[in-house]
Symmetry: C2
């Protein structure tokens, strides 16, 4: 078991009706609120009006229109309002993109330079406004971690900003708020959660506790995502998916696992940066190809263990065959919940030149590819992109 | 999945050499330190001198001699020093008893009345000194929760004090500090962790995530306790036991599980209060009897599920037989790590009158016996005590 440091100071209110906690949690911090959200969905669903009604004794400023891969331009706009209006607390109402954007706003609001500088250099975060979140999509786990992923279209970059000051102060998780999430987004969110686990589970070192928690989250998503897709109002399925999403990216699933290079996310961020595709979709497409790339004599037992623990595969003498079955099961599950198997299914035509660019950038932005369970070179990254076409 | 609220603000430094974090964490809070510890073991092991050396620029006051079932008299003594000396931070170095005592000191130091009043009425905790812990025994999970259990010999009471202000600010968990824990204490600590899980796992409602995490912790303890007992310097076994102990009582294993009445702890606290026996030993003795009491047609599937998930039992048509095997496996495991099977093995002679007293007090102190998976009456509690003799 490797050494670790762990602290998640976020207070979670989980369950039906937990939006009732919003007012007291917000005003305990302050009454000048920046309300951050995405498109029209929270207005259509009535959630926007509910939130406004609950904060009727607060002064609420709106930042609407946060994009699915949130842009640094939105961060700048939010930080500007915070500075001009003396905002006390940022309230994010939405999915991972809204939450990520809000985290970057919390940091940029307390910084004199440009927001993108903080993404490029996390040490430039020294103070942040407190953040309260109301989650409407189970996927990224942003509600229970200290990370944000921000896109810069000027530079074709999509990069992480991670800092302990960016844990939400409070996260309100009401599974009923995800009833309106359509099937394709439920599926993409589920793939995102699973990918978070894969990045931690196929690591250089593991232990009984991290294995068991990772496998639990994977089995939960595999059991509940099809139920939530078939019956969007299945409270129990929505609830378990929601809590699975929060655990999956928080770090608690893999404490003691040592170096985790997160290759799939690094590669997917390139796809999203260039093609603005849905993050979870890109992850689902890349995952089986990454798994097949890293399967070899050295790693075969890990894949067999995974297949047995997560898909109840029976032990086989032919270890490579069993490992390949585990990977095929993963691919089948993504297909079962309606996710595409290839980039060409998305209508993307990706040139060799673009693949070379993406692989180069992935390697620049993530210095840990050589520490993967099976180390990855520039050529390996290119090959996995190609296999995913 | 039931609604829940969750927040663990404790920062954990886990692993070899994590004592090196002590100085900076303490002085970040303040330089007037109350050092709380138990007997001579931290002096023999050299840990006391190490801690003192690391805090050479602090003003350190000692409170030594905290008892295995910590007394309110020790709490009063610690609170008195805090008040007289204007202590900034309490530093607990030891196992669960030292940590529990220290939590109660943190609360009592900020309270004008007597410390026992706060145990009897948790609302009387409104402020607490910050607590830093250095753990030397993997067992109670006190390093990562907000609970303390305090004994009052004047009233033969052993009661919990639980308050969010009592989470340690920082907990330093170095598995190497548990190498010197003898076999019997390692076994008792392991039984304590398992009992914490049982109290949450055999609950009125469960879900896939809580089941998986609970089963993971149980399997980890079952795998690692015998290794740590056979080879006290087995770092990996000590590390996994240590982190298992922290998770087991934190609440994160059972989020969404609804009402958890903790009957075994309520009953064991009576045994400890009257006979001052080791907590984990009492729990191990009571557990199989409580399980057998609650096994019936309504609960049989839960025990079968447990047996399959934790002990890899094969499915059987005779469900009651399978459930009984699961309970027998539990009993065998406790015996395997050297724990006694009955109260008489401890040399205790327990009269019917004393059993009646203990059952009455257990029911008075824990109002939730009727909410157990199989509800328990006064007569049921008496019967389980009798069966454990």
């Amino acid at each position: 078991m490797d050494n670790f440091q762990f602290c998640t100071p976020t207070k979670v209110h989980f369950g039906k009706g937990s939006l009732d906690k919003l007012h007291d949690e917000v005003v305990a911090i302050g009454k000048k609120v920046l309300l951050v959200y995405g498109g029209q969905s929270i207005k259509r669903s009535g959630l926007y009006d509910q939130v406004k009604a609950k904060l009727s004794d607060c002064e609420v400023f709106d930042l609407a229109g946060v994009e699915p891969n949130p842009r640094v331009t939105s961060v700048r706009a939010g930080a500007k309002i915070c500075k001009e209006q003396g905002i006390d607390v940022v309230l994010a109402v939405g999915g991972g993109s809204v939450l990520d954007c809000s985290k970057a706003i919390c940091a940029a609001a307390c910084y004199d330079g440009d927001a993108w500088e903080q993404v490029l250099d996390w040490n430039k975060v020294t103070k942040a406004l407190p953040l309260v979140t109301v989650l409407t999509l189970a996927a990224t786990g942003s509600e229970f971690d200290a990370a944000a992923v921000i896109s810069n279209l000027d530079t074709d970059e999509k990069l992480a900003l991670i800092h302990p000051l960016l844990y939400p102060r409070v996260s309100i998780l009401d599974p009923e708020l995800t009833y309106s999430v359509p099937a394709n987004q439920t599926a993409a969110g589920s793939a995102d959660m699973m990918s978070h686990i894969f990045e931690q589970y196929f690591a250089s070192s593991t232990n009984l506790i991290s294995d068991g928690i990772c496998e639990t989250v994977l089995r939960t998503v595999i059991a509940c995502a099809p139920r939530a897709i078939a019956n969007p109002d299945d409270y129990d399925a929505r609830a378990q998916l929601m809590w699975a999403s929060s655990l999956a990216c928080n770090g608690i699933c893999s404490l003691g696992n040592g170096v985790m290079p997160w290759p799939c996310h690094a590669m997917e961020h390139e796809l999203s940066a260039y093609y603005d595709i849905t993050h979870g979709v890109g992850l689902a497409i890349l995952t089986p190809h990454l798994m097949r790339f890293s399967l070899n004599e050295k790693t075969v037992e890990r894949y067999c263990h995974y297949g047995k623990a997560v898909f109840d595969l029976l032990e086989e003498d032919d270890r490579m065959a069993m490992a390949n079955k585990a990977i095929a099961k993963t691919e089948e599950f993504f297909a079962k919940i309606g996710l595409p198997k290839s980039l060409s299914e998305l209508g993307l035509e990706i040139s060799d030149e673009r693949i070379a660019d993406m692989a180069k950038h992935a390697l620049e932005h993530n210095q840990a590819f050589h520490l993967c369970m099976e180390p990855m070179t520039l050529e390996d990254i290119k090959q996995v992109f190609k296999n995913a076409i």
